[in-house]
Amino acid sequence: MSRVPDLDPGQEASLVQRLRAGEDDAYRALLELYGGSLLRAARRLLRDEDEAADALQEAFLSAFRSIDKFQENSRLSTWLYKIVVNHSLMRLRSRRAKGVESLDDLLPQFDETGHHLVPPSPWRTESDSPRDAAQRSEEEAIVRAAIDRLPDPYRTVVVLRDLEGLETAEVADLLQINANTAKVRLHRARQALRTLLDPVFGVEVVT
């Protein structure tokens, strides 16, 4: 998991030993080392500060409890990351999605001959309209809001693959789907995002 910092193997082994011995300082060290990037992953998945904090708490308590099951041939960061993502996903599944779109409505439509039903509009490019920092930040807010409108099975793939920077195989493993399904979901999610962003970035063609 690329976005979580790693300790060197010697330091990691010693930290695991202290955690197994139940040392309070070791619990704090683990939180201070990994808590930040894991909280960011939980925030991205849950889009809610309080729920992300709760997921992090549940995940760390679960990790402290099951530290004996940690296998030294894997990395502590990867093990913790999986626990946090799983607790976040469990919370996501148990709540009703609000304000999300139907994915089918966001995919491109074709006629019976396989041609675009509505020709896609060209988009303005970075060189057409260079952006200052304020515009860039405004655009980022628009993109974040568009990601939030995706149904969870698609949004989680975008969050894990594109925002968290995981490999497709890692995403598939965490979501317990096969790699091909992860790829298909990512492609559909990007198509849906293109549709959602089209009113902002598309250029009206005058004919």
Binding site: L31, R40, F64, F110, H115, V158, D162, K183, R194, F201
Partner: protein
């Protein structure tokens, strides 16, 4: 290749996962279809915009608030006491 198939294969083409024959067919369609050129460019720009969000997020400090650390450590201490 139709526009529908072009859109279906687009992600695999970008990832270099098409066979040489499929790539040739894909690129032949791309050479001849303006709407699909626009679609491809907008799709690539979408990926780039998401990437910019990811990169900007990395600049935001991600410390765990002190009160959350305290809450987790207190809950853990309580559990230890309960055995």
């Amino acid at each position: 290749m139709t526009c529908r198939e072009f859109v279906e294969f687009l992600n695999a083409w970008l990832a270099g996962e098409l066979s040489p024959e499929e790539s040739i067919e894909f690129e032949r369609h791309l050479d001849a279809c303006d709407p699909c050129i626009d679609y491809l460019n907008a799709y690539k720009r979408t990926m780039q915009l998401v990437q910019e969000v990811a990169e900007h997020d990395e600049d935001i400090p991600d410390d765990v608030p002190d009160d959350l650390i305290t809450a987790i450590l207190t809950a853990q201490a309580k559990k230890k006491k309960q055995g």
